[in-house]
Symmetry: D2
Subunit: 461 residues, 4 copies
């Protein structure tokens, strides 16, 4: 099988051809990883069996060593023969140990004691070693940018329309906050993943035959692996802890997609407040040599479109007949792809943001274009505060007049007989805001700093 | 508008015609509720304004009373005129207060300070007052049933095939556990809902004009309403706390749908271990008078099919341009329907389970049909424990032989020269299990009790 | 039940309060409509029975009249008593006819012979009478606008970046074409909807008892109603014809959402090429009196976010156990909402487009800003056509130089020793394009006219 | 990159390790295929250019030969350098041709003229060469089975409850019909796929520079490739024709999943009417050696759970800003996976059905268990036909009595004073049905034959 005979873009393009990504992701998300984690659970099982005196420590050591040597290729070869993947793994291990050790491989276990426990382990580690680092890296980049731009006055936009002033740093601090929140959520959710060792139907039928306290044994085994035990299991682990983790993963993806959208829009030709950096040799378009496209932001959005809907599969897999059916077997094999997808989007966003081009002149230009009408809000608020009973409507009419006559709003207000007396009561500070809308940024700068400091500390960045 | 001119089945059928449901749900999920919660936030705002000395207590009292009188009809009439829903609410309140009080209605607020805060409040209360009670009621019913049936030996089923023995109570305790877990999850998620009072673009622009510490004011207001403050907001609250709540709501729905599926399957004619109770006058089918269909379980599954995919809308709404766009305005109006859907499914499941017919004779009959082959697992485990190096394969071949010859597995094992010596080493307790598979239920009964007690205590039922 | 006690925004807001919409939609999409269509099928049944001599014409007339009098309220009252909705309908009809006629009400039918046939009828009529007219109205508006603006030179945008010139009419003609295509698709799909009259399990068991050719009878009945017969049915109609219709409905929704997005973006403050018309009394924002937001385009996008994911429910409902289960009963009741959703989005888009404000000055301004760099593409194409072997790369480097030096691209090209000789070979027409990029609109205008004429004719507008 | 370092189960397991599947799928669905199809479009372009006299035939031949030599590896290497995938392809071709030929490679084309046209070509061919053959193979197997079992009387099941009699062949003919219908739908949809050659913004800007009739040229090019031309395009082809194809693909998947569910249920231990064949050496369970699980049917359902929700991505990709954005670039790369998914499910289902074990004894046993109550429907119908005014209710009460007393329904009816006189009027044929419910199969057998013959002919099988 050649690289480009692959069907998945993860394999032939996004991970498969990116050595750095492949090196980071394969130990958790590849099929080799799946087999290795299962072997790890088998090894932990025999270790605990020995600790509880069910087999000797020599046997445990022997089995552990065999587990360490297991690889996907051997397991698949055996599966070809016997058509059962976990039994194949067991056979591969058994073949490498002494006759005395053989019975203690997979002893008292049902396949899904191994599979589900290994999955929990693997997804916890993928969260810890792949997702959290890249997301924290992105968070750091965002914090750096937000702090740097905390005083860059920018027009705030609602409905795509110029609204009240903010700073560019404040706009970025939205994502510092939302991403920080999601990093905590992934971190917490990964630690709730449960394993199991309760046998074929969850009632510890088999283990009750040879263990005094099978529940205590299960806890010992899962503790050995750093996993939680749910209050119940059937042949499989209750799906809810994994659902919760995937909700955090996919909602994090939404944060990234939203940020990518914002930046794509800020890069529009007419807005042009930011731009992706662009290599000297890079080709923007096959026919329009002048184009500079936000291809990385577009890619992030596109990955989100591919992976977000997969939550539906996750919910569908939450339903399993009685003590389990197997209708999640193929679908669950695709779960690691979601982790890979979020990694790719995060890493790309991080790289792109690290080299983000910010065009301060354009930010100023865009702000200036609306400076006059921005005055409307503080004007109406201050009129109300100074006792005008109908300030909102009055100012609304005035903005219409200003637009019609092409005159500045403030001038019209000052000339307005019914308003001018209120204006005279404004404090100098209030008047300053009215006269220079760039001062009407509220707490934008201060809040940016607070948000960044909060998350730096909370996430120990 | 007559009832049956409605388009939504919630309105013309499931809630609209069920007085009890309507009475319970309308205060949280109807349009009237939406308006009332917004008025409540306006009232809290003026209360806190008075407390901070920005307006007098008399004014606050006056506005509060006006807020209490607001109803959807008046607000809609005003919206027809001015085409802005929140401004309409404000106008309705303003009209009912003195000239002195008018400026302090909605003072310094932007629409979404009210809308999003009121939504958080409403969804928290809907969770607390609608969802948690009905789910706890269902949990209680499940616990009662599980404890009652904790010793009812039932064949466990994996892949729809008879597997190892459990008890029917143990099967139910799966749902006690999963539902208990989700109740806790909803409970926790509802308390994370955030409000905001940071103005049109989130930078406290307006409130900075007249408040020394707008962030402290925001916290005071939200504390007054029992809500949290996020680390950041734009015109709108960060969507993640609501996403997390909806993930718990929809994953709870999955638990119910799974239970409904299991029960539908157990009601199949050939299995017939349980049945929905059936009224004397009830018509099962328009042409097959003998039919007794699991229509309530089917309804639960069907509601799940309608509401589960709506998580996609929730994720789509997580993306909002810059300081917000309004592309969530219509879609978010449908969110209360998801709460109504889960309520309906829970209530119906609870009622149906309360009158569940359990056919112990059929449970026994089905178990007996597989009793012999069930022996295979304990036999292989015990052979392995007693040192047989190849027990699984040996027993697998024996089951094929048993099937071919139509002979009991145990008899073949005892007659097998290579196995009989291992069998002789079995303890009496082990032999008892091998001879009576109904004893091979492991911890099914004990675990059922543990699970029920755990959740009874954890949820204070 | 008061209007604002409703939970669905369709009922309390979007349809329920819009008299015109309610009047148009209720006859097809309300619960009353559902009952009426079922009664219509019962009436057709007895008509065909009489035609085939199974009952008398008098009986048929009697039953038909009773069917015409049926209303949802009576049916629901009866359902409360007997707990079966179709049997309730039958009872209501039976009560109103003579003893002789009673046996021929619902004669030989199973509930879903009526329910599924009535649904097919209803959705066909909803497509014909609700969707197609509003979509054709929208198409007309688009054609009018596109033709009017066919020569309005506008900068084309790819990746949000200025690309090559088009005309605004050409941009609109994209939607003329895509919407036209979808109108045809809905039209075709609605005519594929199938009914059935094959009894409880689809094998014509009951009707075989008293009809010589039950298949011919089924065809006669469905022909009477203008419906197709599938090659097979179980208790229910094969779901595929309805799936196909809903795919056309939802993909039409995607076209509308895409158009709404484009217009929202063109209304951005910095672009400002178009705007929604805005009433004199309309309030744009509760705190920013100057705001003019694209609230209608946002609403269209938002409705799409609510209804698009419901395709998942449609696919889930395609799976029904054996000769059917009932797990589509509640979910299918929500299907009419999707039709209502598309109607609302279409109607709103149509109204908004009818009063669309086009700012030609801004369109020109935006075009002018990129006029120079637009030259890059025709320049490179013509250089290539005149034999330059490396035109794309040469021009790409030149655009970088132009940007760096702030000089016009064409000037640099003419001054470039290796390029100037090619330029001299350009025809006058080619040179004209290079000198005036507004001429580089290709077939934009001509194509606009062709597209509009094609669809006008194809859809008989 | 080793096989098991891959992340996608398609690559490391389902296709990657299945030589037959890989050989069949790679030419259409792999990355190599993507590149080859793009090269094919480039070749067709130069061919048509030559035909229209824009370049010489020698040049065309030279470029065509170069196109045939293109492979993904070379293109990726070039993309690494210049960061644009289509330009990379163009460069690879250009490098291999003479200086004279270079300008005519990709002449007048924009990237997506190639990419979208190649995609349409590829998906049409994947439909034609991968999907339709495997689906027709499955259809044949179904027809064979259905015809073989057309007279096997089986109890029909609605709501999982025994209903009226059918034959097993009739149950299978449901899928003959639904699958046949979908095969036609895929076949039709694939032929609607459109290509384009209208340049960077769809207005034929570039091609207008050197072609008299660019629209005619586009048609000539697409005709050369056997593709349709839409009425409009922007930088990209209108998405609707691809959406329609994917709707047929995914709704076909639903048919397969439904069939797999039915068969899984029929394999339940208590029903046991069918079973997957099971190899002598196959291991059913790692701890329960006697288990025979419907793992292939489960796999089909599981693949459906993975691929069905991807329709959401397809709809999301239907929205592209203005003359296009690139937010479908990554997501669209995953589209071939959906084709692979349906292939895998179909092939597996076909293989499993070819060796399906049908247990006629159990089918009979299950039927016999309900034979008595089945009589209820024909009894009530015939009573009604013979003039009984209240037959349904009378029989309903009788079934309750029969159940309570444990007596046969027919006996009770004959003993019933008010019913017996109607019974006496029944014809011998009618009485035969009442006395032997196995005769009450209506047209099950006949219809099975009709359905099979219809689709055999319609699909030319």
């Amino acid at each position: 099988m050649e690289l480009f005979d692959n069907i998945s873009p993860l394999d032939y393009r996004y991970v498969g051809r990116d050595k750095e990504a492949a090196k980071l992701l394969a130990p958790y998300l590849s099929e080799n990883a799946r087999v290795h984690y299962q072997a790890q659970v088998e090894a932990a099982l025999v270790r605990v069996l020995a600790r509880q005196g069910i087999c000797s420590k020599e046997i445990a050591r022997e089995v552990e060593q065999a587990c360490r040597r297991v690889n996907a290729e051997d397991v698949y070869k055996e599966e070809d023969r016997i058509r059962h993947d976990v039994r194949a793994l067991v056979n591969v291990v058994r073949r490498q140990v002494s006759k005395e050790a053989k019975p203690f491989v997979h002893f008292g276990a049902t396949s899904y004691d191994i599979v589900d426990t290994a999955s929990a382990l693997r997804f916890r580690e993928a969260s810890r070693m792949v997702l959290l680092p890249v997301l924290k890296g992105l968070e750091k980049t965002l914090i750096k940018l937000a702090l740097r731009e905390r005083d860059t006055v920018q027009v705030g936009r609602t409905h795509g329309q110029h609204a009240e002033p903010i700073t560019f740093g404040f706009a970025l601090s939205e994502y510092v906050s939302r991403l920080g929140n999601r990093i905590q959520a992934i971190d917490a959710a990964k630690d709730n993943l449960c394993g199991k060792f309760s046998g074929a139907v969850g009632a510890y039928n088999a283990s009750s035959l040879f263990l005094k306290d099978p529940v205590a044994f299960e806890q010992a085994l899962l503790k050995e692996l750093g996993l939680k035990t749910g209050t119940h299991s059937t042949q499989i682990v209750e799906p809810e802890s994994l659902i919760d983790l995937l909700n955090t993963v996919i909602s994090t993806f939404c944060v990234l997609a939203n940020l990518a959208d914002d930046l794509r829009n800020l890069q529009r030709s007419e807005i042009a407040e930011i731009a992706e950096a662009f290599g000297e040799k890079q080709v923007g378009s096959s026919t329009m040599p002048h184009k500079r496209n936000p291809i990385n932001f577009e890619n992030v959005k596109s990955l989100w479109k591919q992976f977000m809907p997969r939550i539906v599969t996750v919910y569908l897999d939450a339903l399993s007949d009685h003590q389990r059916d197997l209708t999640n077997s193929a679908s669950a094999r695709f779960l690691p792809e979601i982790f890979a997808g979020l990694y790719l989007a995060s890493e790309r966003l991080n790289k792109t943001l690290s080299r983000l081009v910010v065009d301060h002149a354009n930010i100023e230009r865009n702000f200036a274009a609306s400076a006059d009408s921005i005055v409307a809000e503080p004007l109406y608020i201050l009129l109300a505060q100074h006792g005008h009973a109908n300030a909102h409507e009055e100012v609304r009419l005035l903005t219409l007049e200003a637009k019609k006559k092409g005159k500045p709003l403030l001038g019209l207000a000052e000339a307005h007989p019914a308003l001018s007396r209120y204006l005279k009561a404004f404090t100098p500070g209030q008047l300053a805001v009215i006269r220079d809308p760039a001062k009407y940024t509220g707490l934008a700068s201060k809040k940016t700093v607070q948000v960044c400091q909060h998350w730096k500390k909370a996430l120990k960045l």
